[in-house]
């Protein structure tokens, strides 16, 4: 018996590490390439050992206003995520715990607001933004990001709240808890993991959003997606520089993801509950 568990444990460890490294490999390759020269980047066979250089990063710094783009990305992503959570959480809560016949229909309807490909709605939205004088403004991006991600947030939070066993809420209600107390002291602690993963996913979706970021902004409100757009496929070798720019673009988000991964998997512990 102990051996079996030991073997299974080793298999699990190896399997997990193998899968993780396989999945991570392209990104890791991007990381390596950011430190190569353009010539090294296109070398055949691909180079794993080489002398690293920081030239690409300094080129990115010199060429584009990284701090402005990063700041804009930060503001639009964070504000839209927070705003979205504030709007989505009550809605998901209501649908999870005060279910009606229409609940599923409403959920489907919310999802259907995302069915129109952005590229088809480009001209209407562009004209609207222009009429409202909101072209090249952070507010326009925040609104677009919030509303684009809202259905996803509602869905994920709904699913998360449904995972909470109703006995717990029954117990709280029988103890006379008000709605707010119920939410704050019972639901929230149990759904921290879900809210964190919802928040993180929507943060990433906003961070990487390129279509609206490119089309609704020009000089002032560009995000890191605009930065990346200025490095892809010019005439001339660009691969190492693009890798460096990409690293700079995703670095803040990866760091944030790393630090919040504990919250991501914090969840229900049935033993404690029972």
């Amino acid at each position: 018996m102990p051996n079996e568990n030991h073997l299974a444990h080793m298999a699990r460890t190896l399997g997990a590490w193998f899968a993780a490294l396989l999945l991570f490999f392209p990104l890791g390759w991007l990381f390596l390439t950011a430190f190569k020269t353009e010539l090294q980047a296109i070398h055949v066979p691909p180079l794993f050992v080489f002398e690293p250089t920081l030239d690409n990063f300094s080129e990115v710094q010199r060429r584009s206003d990284y701090l402005l783009y990063a700041r804009n990305s930060l503001i639009t992503s964070v504000v839209s995520t927070v705003l979205g959570l504030l709007i989505a959480a009550p809605a998901a809560y209501s649908m999870a715990f005060f279910r009606t016949r229409r609940t599923r229909d409403i959920l489907m309807w919310m999802l259907s607001t995302k069915m129109m490909p952005a590229v088809g709605a480009l001209v209407p939205i562009y004209v609207l933004a222009q009429m409202a004088g909101m072209l090249d403004s952070l507010s326009a991006l925040i609104i677009v990001f919030t509303l684009s991600n809202l259905p996803i947030m509602v869905w994920m939070l709904y699913s998360n709240y449904k995972d909470i066993p109703p006995e717990i809420l029954e117990a709280a209600r029988m103890d006379g808890a008000s709605l707010w107390t119920e939410f704050r002291h019972v639901v929230m602690p149990l759904s921290v993991g879900g809210m964190a993963s919802t928040g993180l996913l929507c943060l990433v979706l906003s961070w990487n959003e390129a279509f609206w970021a490119l089309n609704l902004t020009s000089a002032k409100a560009g995000t890191l997606a605009t930065l990346i757009a200025s490095y892809s496929s010019p005439e001339g070798l660009f691969w190492a520089k693009l890798s460096a720019a990409s690293l700079l673009a995703i670095a803040p988000i990866v760091v944030f993801g790393w630090f919040s991964q504990k919250q991501l998997v914090q969840g229900l512990t049935f033993g404690a509950v029972k």
């Binding site: 020269t37 010539l39 089309n215 020009s218 000089a219 560009g222 200025s230 496929s233």
Partner: protein, 438 residues
């Protein structure tokens, strides 16, 4: 006494107002493409702002496709997001005819006659210049002199495609990692179709006849595309049907191509030892011909233009004149060297001995640009302007659709005949929708 006070007050107000306007700088938002020369110009922004303290520059850099979509959407909806737009030789005739652009006011110091005539004519409408060029290119052949010597091939002055095939066949050595010919294959009106249009041109074909009927299922197209597909299948690298400029550049710089026909700017990249393994082994020749030299090498330029609805006309004109002037070329030469100056725009650049020394391919490039005439690039008469494209709005979608078919033919998914037939149908469909004929 009162009058003095009044005058004094008026003067004071005027002084305050004047100093106020002196502090308020005009901000220009410039949409531009991310090629090396534009990036260079961004680096020189402090120089411009120093000599023109009342103008501030803000740059929006995008890659070509996105830029085109962005500025077209903006100018058509009068969005007003950009004060200066970078447009290509393709947009200039269309937009100037629609009255969407302000003419560029040139003066004697600017010396508009110094602009290369083929490009200048492509940017002018009814005698007025509507966009100022800051970079121009044609296409040419780049090849490995060492490989030519090895197989005993002597490159003629003006090679033909058939002659080049001979070289490609001999030099093709996949086992040794060398492919005879590298050409574009990725679908796109500015990708594979740029090259293929020049091939069709030189085989005596055209996109549309004078009644605007697409000519894709005619003999010149048949011959040109069949030649291309056969050549690439035999002597081309794998993955060719997804390769565009950058992929071929990577291959050539790694020493994997014996020959490459593409934009003249590639010449500067392949002969730069910092990014090319074969920098010292490269030689240049004019783009190959077949039946006629007309339209065998293409013409393209990136240009600065001002939307007609602009409110910052004066500042924009000043900037554009600065950026495309002879003095700017000198500035770049001083700051970065003659090898990095924007090329393909002015005769004076090519006449400069320092430039000729720094850029080995300068003469070949100038000959190529001069010989490309957007108004006369096909053997039979054509109703459209443009060497490797037709300057009509419908061309982007048509070019992409045909490009997809050509790519499929190269990949062996369809026969050349099928590809041409499908292309003809889709072209006719688009032209009918565009109202060119019923």
């Amino acid at each position: 006494m009162k009058r003095h006070a009044q005058a004094g007050l008026a003067l004071a107000i005027a002084a305050v107002a004047a100093s106020g306007t002196a502090h308020a700088a005009t901000e220009l938002v410039i949409a531009t493409v991310n090629n090396g020369h534009m990036i260079e110009m961004q680096k020189l922004t402090p120089e411009f702002e120093k000599s023109h303290p009342d103008i501030k520059l803000k740059w929006v850099t995008l890659e070509e496709g996105t830029l085109r979509q962005r500025v077209t959407t903006d100018i058509a909806t009068k969005g007003g997001q950009f004060d200066v737009m970078t447009i290509g030789l393709y947009e200039a005739p269309i937009w100037s005819k629609k009255g969407w652009l302000k003419p560029i006011a040139t003066d004697a110091a600017y010396d508009v006659d110094d602009l290369l005539p083929s490009i200048r004519s492509g940017l002018s409408h009814e005698g007025k210049l509507y966009a100022a060029p800051f970079y121009g290119e044609s296409s040419m052949l780049m090849y490995r002199q060492d490989l030519a010597d090895k197989v005993g091939f002597k490159m003629p002055e003006r090679p033909t495609w058939v002659q080049l095939r001979e070289f490609a066949d001999k030099a093709n050595d996949p086992a040794g990692g060398v492919y005879g010919m590298c050409l574009r294959g990725k679908p796109g009106w500015g990708d594979n179709m740029a090259l293929l249009t020049t091939m069709v041109n030189t085989w005596g074909g055209q996109w549309f006849d004078t009644a605007w009927k697409p000519q894709i299922d005619t003999k010149p197209w048949q011959e040109a595309i069949s030649f291309y597909v056969d050549l690439m299948k035999k002597d081309g690298p794998p993955g060719a049907s997804a390769n565009s400029f950058n992929e071929n550049l990577a291959l050539f710089n790694e020493g994997k191509c014996a020959m490459w026909v593409d934009a003249t700017i590639a010449a500067s990249f392949v002969s730069d030892p910092k990014q090319s393994k074969v920098a010292d082994k490269v030689a240049f020749a004019p783009a190959p011909v077949a039946v006629t030299p007309k339209g065998a090498n293409w013409l393209w330029s990136w240009n600065l233009a001002i939307p007609a609805s602009s409110t910052k006309d004066a500042a924009a004109q000043t900037f554009i004149k600065w950026a495309t002037s002879k003095e700017y070329v000198q500035l770049v030469a001083k700051e970065t060297g003659w090898a990095s100056v924007p090329t393909g725009t002015r005769k004076s650049t090519y006449a400069n001995p320092e430039f000729q020394k720094a850029a080995r391919f300068a003469a070949a490039e100038k000959t190529a640009i001069d010989s490309a005439n957007p108004n006369d690039s096909t053997l039979p008469k054509s109703p459209y302007v443009g060497v490797q494209y037709a300057a009509i709005p419908e061309f982007q979608a048509i070019g992409l659709g045909v490009g997809q078919q050509m790519s499929a033919a190269l990949a062996g998914k369809v026969t050349v005949e099928q590809a041409l037939k499908t292309s003809q149908t889709l072209a006719e469909r688009e032209m009918k929708k565009g109202g060119y004929y019923k």
